[in-house]
């Protein structure tokens, strides 16, 4: 699973950096590299564009994974260039932005929009697979997630909006419930769909999600 990201438009980045004249750039070697939004090439390209906008680039680094403690090392290795910069522009997912911010006092700006946790299904085609609902139903839906793949997150079968197998929200996407129906039908498990599912428990996924291994997570929520 990867954090799927999209680069913000240059106009928005320009607005974000309005009051900053020098910038240190951070890219990510994992998800953002796969998405072509914050790998080595994109960081170089961004540096060129920022120079065109009149900014000074004090340095850049592509951290293998920006979303973990590697940031501490990367920050100390680049301490001089970072010190010289007014701010850091992070070309990683929002997890990376927030993690990096833990290790520096410089203002940190996101260059990307984090869209979802997903997979690259085929080159350049990214698809969301799980919205972390906190009460996984894959066990009776044939391994297909209706909470994620059905825009309405329905649990009791199709809404009646599908046309020629496609979802009412986008004719580019299959109706998740028709796919689930076919899968369960192949598996001889249609009985799973006959059972009435009651109300979803949205408190299982309220923000901010906190979980402690000792089971006291409920106290924190």
């Amino acid at each position: 699973m990867k954090a799927i990201t999209k680069q913000k438009g240059l106009a928005e980045i320009e607005r974000l950096l309005e009051k900053e004249s020098s910038v240190f750039l951070v890219g990510c070697g994992t998800c953002a590299t796969m998405c072509h939004t914050g790998g080595k090439d994109e960081v170089l390209e961004m540096a060129r564009r920022l120079v065109d906008l009149g900014k000074t680039i004090t340095g850049s680094v592509v951290i293998p994974t920006v979303c973990d403690a590697q940031d501490r090392e990367a920050v100390s290795e680049n301490v001089k260039a970072i010190d010289e910069a007014d701010c850091i522009l992070v070309m990683a997912c929002a997890y990376g932005v927030q993690t990096l911010a833990l290790y520096t006092d410089k203002p940190v700006y996101p260059a990307l929009d984090t869209l979802f946790m997903g997979q690259e299904m085929s080159p350049g085609v990214f698809s969301e697979v799980c919205v972390q609902c906190g009460e996984c139903v894959l066990g009776w839906t044939g391994g297909i997630c209706p909470i994620t793949a059905c825009p309405k997150g329905l649990l009791n079968g199709p809404c009646g909006g599908a046309k020629n197998g496609k979802c009412e929200v986008s004719s580019a996407r299959d109706c998740a419930w028709e796919v689930i129906y076919e899968r369960l039908s192949q598996q001889g498990k249609l009985d799973n769909l006959r059972k009435r599912r009651s109300l979803r428990n949205f408190s299982a996924s309220t923000q901010p999600g906190v979980y402690l291994l000792d089971g006291k997570d409920g106290d924190l929520k």
Binding site: K152, L154, G157, G160, G161, V169, R196, L199, F202
Partner: protein, 288 residues
């Protein structure tokens, strides 16, 4: 007699639909309702149909009540969480509205506020369950109510959906959850509708066949291409194409469909939005 009593007595019922205005001028809505006064048994009020923001269905039902007509309160899960849905159900009952049609609702991006937050806390099945739960004198949290409502709970089904089996499974769940009547998506083929009715006969629940009046051949083609769960047979599209008086042809086809399904189901739900005069013509011509 109200809708519940008429269906219980085995009367063939007719319902139709009005859409509240975008704004507060209800003159047109009143005119539409007046055209079917005395001809239909109840009038559905749509809940921000197609996710287009407009006057609410609860207010619309209240107005119908004031005008002396029986409303069916369409309520969807699109815009309200379970707290607001339960509250609106209680409000409806307190305002004298008993018929509620529980729907999932269209997705928000289909309407005129595509950036709005979609809710879908409940779905049509759990919304039915919720209405019946309130009747038992407590809310979804198990808290006791000071005075319980009593509803006549309706639901929707698409006899012409892509796959009929999941539709029927869902219909079964709706009945199990407490649905007391069904209004169907538009049907045009009485023979196929007969097959559908034989598949759901075991549910022993009144079904009102959906009749959407054709205005033109183009409308038929458009619905075949875009509208979910609607299939207009080619021969009807041909008929519309050739007819010189399209309005009269649309009425004639609707009457024929009604005649074809009359012995199969417990009523019809006629939808001719903005053309309520034709609803009334159809009712007269079908001898209902």
């Amino acid at each position: 007699m109200n809708l519940r009593e008429k269906l219980a007595a085995g009367r063939f019922v007719i319902t139709c639909e009005v859409g509240p205005p975008k704004g507060v001028d209800v003159t047109e809505m009143k005119r539409s309702a007046e055209r079917v006064r005395g001809k239909v048994d109840a009038v559905n009020v749509t809940d921000q149909q197609s996710s287009v923001m407009r006057l609410g269905s609860l207010a619309g039902c209240c107005l119908l009540n004031q005008w002396g007509m029986e409303p069916v309160f369409q309520i969807t899960c699109r815009d309200r969480n379970r707290i607001a849905l339960q509250s609106d159900l209680l409000s409806a009952y307190a305002l004298g509205i008993e018929n509620v049609l529980c729907l999932t609702g269209d997705y928000v991006t289909l309407g005129d506020h595509p950036q709005a937050k979609p809710v879908f806390d409940l779905d049509s099945v759990s919304l039915i369950e919720t209405a019946r739960e309130l009747e038992n004198g407590h809310d979804l949290a198990g808290k006791e109510l000071n005075g319980a409502p009593r509803f006549f709970v309706g639901a929707c089904v698409s006899p012409e959906a892509d796959f009929i089996e999941p539709q029927i499974m869902k219909m079964e769940k709706k009945v199990e959850a407490g649905a007391q009547f069904f209004q169907t998506q538009a049907i045009y083929d009485a023979r196929k509708f007969a097959d559908f009715m034989s598949m759901v006969r075991h549910l022993k629940v009144p079904v009102l066949a959906g009749i959407v009046v054709l205005r033109s051949a183009a409308m038929g083609r458009y619905m075949n291409e875009k509208a979910a769960g609607i299939r207009v047979p080619e021969n009807l599209i041909d008929e519309m194409d050739k007819a010189s008086d399209k309005a009269a042809k649309g009425v004639e086809i609707a009457v024929r469909t009604i005649t074809g399904v009359k012995g199969l189901c417990q009523g019809v739900h006629i939808i001719a939005i903005g053309q309520e005069k034709r609803t009334s013509d159809i009712i007269d011509a079908a001898g209902l």
